[in-house]
């Protein structure tokens, strides 16, 4: 077998220049808020890296994450990621099926033992020993354990794989959990979002390829480069927030003028993601620009936080009923206190008379 080529040699053979590497890495460096110096170093490193074997496991998911990932599959700059990685197993994208598909996974695991990266999208059901979701006769739980065993790192893409996601929404019938609740002895990167921004996925993978290490992560194991800022701080509508100009509904004057969506439930202030800067579909727009508040989809439990249209300062539990109960109890307690006072007074007067 010939010595495996570096990515630089591989692409050179196809007439792709180092300028393309530099352009690609300045695009990534920009998305990761790295300095242009880093882009240059990244380009050099990437060119001398080997193609990365990636095994993509899809569990309780909707394929939205794959849709998002392949949205970077435009026939130019963004497709380069598919030259950098060897996607050895992916239900939706691979040609093989059935036994052959599983065989591909096993071969990749054998040949790249200790070096391959596992990407997981979808949550893993744990109730009934994982019987809620099975592939090729084994539960997701088993497939995860088996595949992750010899992996170099695990990337959980999407909120389901990272935090349990929609399947874990109350009352979580399948006992769905995210990867890091099951895998404790491997490097894990969470790239949440519903779906995640494609650059956050490709950028993170390219970072690992070019620097040979994981990017800096926050307390939820998210790359700080993409999840270091909250939406609110980077939102172009922020000046309206500061001036106190808010849309009160989705069709009022404020909404038409593009004012802040805080009052109609925007979760931007507590959501960490790159939507406000990288935007979607190649920088075209993002939810807030399209007139809808942020749902907070890259945060754990975003579906169970009191409703998408409830503003942040509103309590997330029903306070009205409890307050009414408390008022009734307070009134009763007050009347009892007063009655006790009256009784004392009566007694005192009786004693005074006798």
């Amino acid at each position: 077998m010939a010595e495996p080529k570096t990515l630089g040699q591989m692409l050179e053979a196809r007439g792709i220049s180092r300028r393309a590497f530099l352009k690609y890495t300045s695009y990534l460096a920009s998305s990761m808020a790295l300095t242009p110096l880093a882009a240059k170093a990244m380009a050099e490193n990437l060119a001398s890296a080997r193609r990365q074997s990636v095994i993509w496991l899809s569990f309780q998911e909707c394929t939205g994450c794959t849709e998002s990932f392949t949205r970077s599959f435009a026939p130019t700059l963004e497709e380069l990621i598919f030259d950098f990685i060897s996607l050895d197993y992916h239900h939706t994208l691979q040609a093989a099926s059935g036994e052959a598909a599983e065989e591909a996974r096993h071969i990749a695991m054998r040949e790249n033992k200790g070096k391959y990266v596992v990407v997981v999208d979808g949550s893993i059901p744990t109730k009934l020993d994982g019987a809620y979701s099975t592939i090729a006769g084994i539960s997701n739980l088993q497939m995860l354990e088996e595949t992750v065993k010899d992996a170099a790192a695990v990337i959980a893409v999407g909120t389901c794989a990272a935090f349990g996601g929609i399947p874990a929404a109350a009352p979580n019938p399948t006992g769905a959990v995210g990867v890091d609740q099951l895998v404790t002895d491997k490097a894990i990167i969470n790239i949440p979002g519903c779906p995640p921004i494609p650059e956050a996925m490709t950028g993170t993978i390219s970072y690992i390829l070019s620097f040979g290490k994981l990017p800096k992560l926050d307390h939820l194991k998210r790359p700080i480069a993409y999840f270091g800022n909250n939406i609110h701080d980077r939102c172009y509508r922020r000046p309206f927030y500061e001036r106190g100009l808010f849309a009160k509904s989705f069709d009022d004057e404020g909404a038409r003028k593009g004012w802040c969506l805080y009052e109609v439930g925007c979760k931007g202030p507590t959501t960490y993601n790159a939507c406000a800067t990288l935007k979607w579909n190649g920088g075209v727009s993002f939810p807030i620009q399209s007139g809808h508040g942020c749902l907070g989809c890259s945060e754990p439990n975003f579906w169970d936080k009191g409703g998408f249209y409830n503003p942040l300062p509103a309590p997330i539990r029903d306070v009205g009923k409890v307050a009414a109960g408390a008022a009734a109890a307070g009134a009763a307690a007050g009347l009892i206190s007063a009655a006790a006072g009256h009784a004392r007074k009566k007694n005192a007067m009786k004693e005074g008379k006798s």
């Binding site: 500061e242 507590t270 754990p300 309590p315 307050a323 109890a329 007050g334 206190s337 007063a338």
Partner: protein, 220 residues
């Protein structure tokens, strides 16, 4: 899996508001239905109707008597400053307006954040001056109880944590916001049982005082 902010916005707010409502209603009802000694003295001639006397007394006490104006100038002005400051912050900061709307359904326009920041700064200084005055005046210090100090702490904490949250200093925003909401929860819980209750009782005490003085023909 729930975080601090979820806890603050959920169970903590629910619990503290319940305690607040219970406590306030309990104290007011027991006070209003308390047995009272009948004032058997005759109403002095020329006395105003009781209700008018009560309301008049409430307003009269908003400013000191001219004789005392100079001596009480600091407490009067400083008291007005932080009370108005707190009112402006609580009632006109956009997120607070939303909070009140979510509880009561009532809403009104908010002021720009920059105004709230300025008022917040002034209020903090004013509250600190109030404490300094309490500690430096021998008489005031002597009559102050733990209640006064706890009340001061639970009042200034939400202002400080609110300013920190709104300007994103120190910790992450969601943590600051959670701490701010929790500090308000503490305020709510303390309110009915400490001196903060004057927010309701001031109407009763001043009114009652006005009614009594009026009955006895005291000219004010």
């Amino acid at each position: 899996m729930t975080d601090l902010l979820d806890f603050a916005r959920g169970p903590a707010l629910q619990f503290s508001l319940a305690v607040f409502v219970f406590g306030v209603v309990w104290r007011l009802v027991s006070l209003l239905f308390m047995p009272r000694l009948k004032d058997k003295s005759a109403i002095r001639s020329g006395a105003k109707p009781t209700m008018i006397a009560a309301v008049a007394e409430f307003f009269r006490r908003m400013l000191p008597k001219p004789e005392f104006a100079k001596r009480t100038r600091f407490t009067t002005i400083n008291g007005w400053v932080f009370h108005l400051g707190l009112a402006i912050i609580v009632l006109t900061f956009a997120p607070h307006v939303l909070f009140i709307k979510s509880l009561t359904g009532l809403t009104w326009p908010a002021l720009p954040n920059i105004v709230i920041f300025a008022v917040g700064g002034v209020t903090v200084v004013s509250l600190i001056l109030a404490l300094a005055h309490r500690l430096s005046s021998p008489v005031l210090k002597l009559i102050s109880t733990m209640d006064d100090y706890v009340t001061w702490v639970v009042t200034i904490t939400p202002v400080l944590t609110g300013l920190a949250a709104a300007s994103h200093v120190g910790l992450r925003y969601e943590t600051l916001l959670a701490i701010h909401i929790l500090s308000i929860c503490v305020f709510f819980v303390w309110f009915p049982f400490g001196k903060l209750m004057h927010g309701f009782l001031v109407f009763l005490t001043r009114g009652e005082m006005g009614a009594q003085l009026n009955r006895r023909g005291i000219k004010l």
